[in-house]
Symmetry: C2
Subunit: 298 residues, 2 copies
């Protein structure tokens, strides 16, 4: 059975591979690297790219932390084990072009010294203009990854993403969803679930490369840029008000700059903004809801 | 003894007076007005100004809501009364010029049908470049208003503001504080506390007029604009992660656009931004802490 150190090594390897690919795709900007230590045990490698040609701001963060279980973790998970170990890889990319979606990917593994362990993670896409063929491609790709591991995964984790990435106070989803899973500890055992999490992580580059290449050179105007900034405001609202990982990080004195790398380089809030009826922005808003069958919608 | 309707009327009168003064000061933009109703009882008048000469975005919101006490209110306040009444006036202004501070003012009255009632509110200032004489003037003015009502008010409510407007995860205050008070129901009785809250509200215009007139024509560069956007990001963090009023509004299905009018028109997040040593931005950061005696610091 795979050990926590091996899981962590594989996630870190994937971080390197993803950063290389993204630098290639961007063509201009390079990742900056910050290595940080957690005083109570472990640490991480934050890799940030800013002011690129494709990517306005993005982070690809690896961490592996351990030690005495903080009370907040005991409360959150309802376990009383004295020692914990957590490792994960987290990505958020804010592209320049409003026609390229924001993307988020995360895979993580958690273990306690009483024998409890689980995997979590997911990928979700936040387009500001929904291209139905991109949406279908994105969800089909996720389904393909899921189907290789369990026939129930895509349908379960797609629904989970719909429910999780929902901005309650706006009554809209963050984007077109994707997959989300947490506390997985059955479904074939540790090795199988690790392989699933790694396959999710590995699917990130080919999927995002295809979608960003298709859209990154589409010309845009000030109007579309403004819409992007408003939608990024909603992204910030989700992350600061609702995202469990962010809240958990802020409450447990995590490394702030790594946690908040997900926030947009520039965002805007207009009072009571609502797009003109039948405009492309309006069509997007109409699709920001749960339970859409993206694969078969076009 | 003053009735809840009279309190509400006076707050609404003050809303009109403040909006008139602000339009005068701005010289270009006008307030838009939205009247909204709360399905369960009461409603409000949101007045928003955008793209002005002085004010990039601002809201002056009045509300008066009542009805069966929502469970969330019962839990928050630990009262079990079946009916509640709440009225208040809330202001946030985001000026264009980075040398003019963001200002926030709020006064509110809450009453339940078991006889419990209280006042809350405050004013606080968020400069991006701290001008010590402005800071001293601001705090002296607040002390003057407080001293007219109770000799302990300024010192108590100044400390309360320091503690409340503290961005825990950044270990910095939102700005230079001001005064904050909540659940006031002794200190001279209802009429006296109402008069105090109204005096706080009335002090807003002369104070902000003086500070904004002094700074609104100061020339600024792209560098100072960028710094303003970063500091506005911190403002958004405070409001979305920590502000009790915002959280309460989001959780109780309040009118979203009125609650979130406090968010900046444009904000930015740079990874790990830290100003150059001894720069004006650096000097500002150094002063974003609690327990500074602003009145006597210059």
């Amino acid at each position: 059975m795979i050990s926590k150190e091996e899981i962590s090594d594989k996630y870190q390897e994937l971080q390197r591979a993803i950063c290389l690919s993204l630098e290639n795709e961007d063509g201009v900007a390079r990742f900056k690297e910050d290595r940080w230590e957690r005083p109570e045990g472990g640490g991480g490698i934050s890799r940030i790219i800013e002011d690129g040609k494709l990517i306005e701001k993005g982070g690809v963060n690896f961490s592996s932390v351990y030690g005495a279980t903080p009370d907040k973790i005991k409360q959150s998970f309802g376990y009383d084990a004295t020692e914990f170990y957590a490792t994960g890889l987290s990505i958020v990319l804010h592209p320049n072009n409003p026609f390229v979606p924001i993307i988020h990917m995360n895979i993580r593994y958690f273990e306690m010294n009483d024998g409890n362990w689980w995997f979590g993670g997911g990928i979700d896409l936040t387009p500001h203009y929904i291209d139905r063929s991109d949406a279908s491609f994105f969800h089909s790709s996720l389904k393909e990854v899921c189907d290789q591991h369990h026939e129930s995964f895509y349908i379960r984790f797609k629904k989970w993403a719909d429910d999780y990435f929902f901005i309650k106070h706006r009554k809209e989803t963050r984007g077109i969803g994707g997959i989300f899973f947490d506390r997985l500890n059955r479904d074939g055992g540790k090795d199988a679930l690790f392989n699933f999490s790694l396959d999710v992580g590995k699917s990130f580059i080919p999927m995002y490369t295809k979608i960003s290449r298709k859209n990154k050179a589409v010309p845009f105007t000030e109007k579309e840029r403004k819409w992007q900034l408003i939608r990024r405001g909603r992204y910030a609202e989700f992350n600061l008000v609702l995202d469990r990982g962010t809240k958990f990080g802020l409450e447990t004195n995590g490394r702030i700059e790594s946690i908040l790398m997900s926030l947009p380089p520039l965002a805007s809030w207009k009072y009571n903004h609502s797009p003109e009826k039948n405009s492309p922005e309006y069509e997007t808003i109409k699709l920001l809801r749960k339970d859409i069958d993206w694969i078969n919608m076009h």
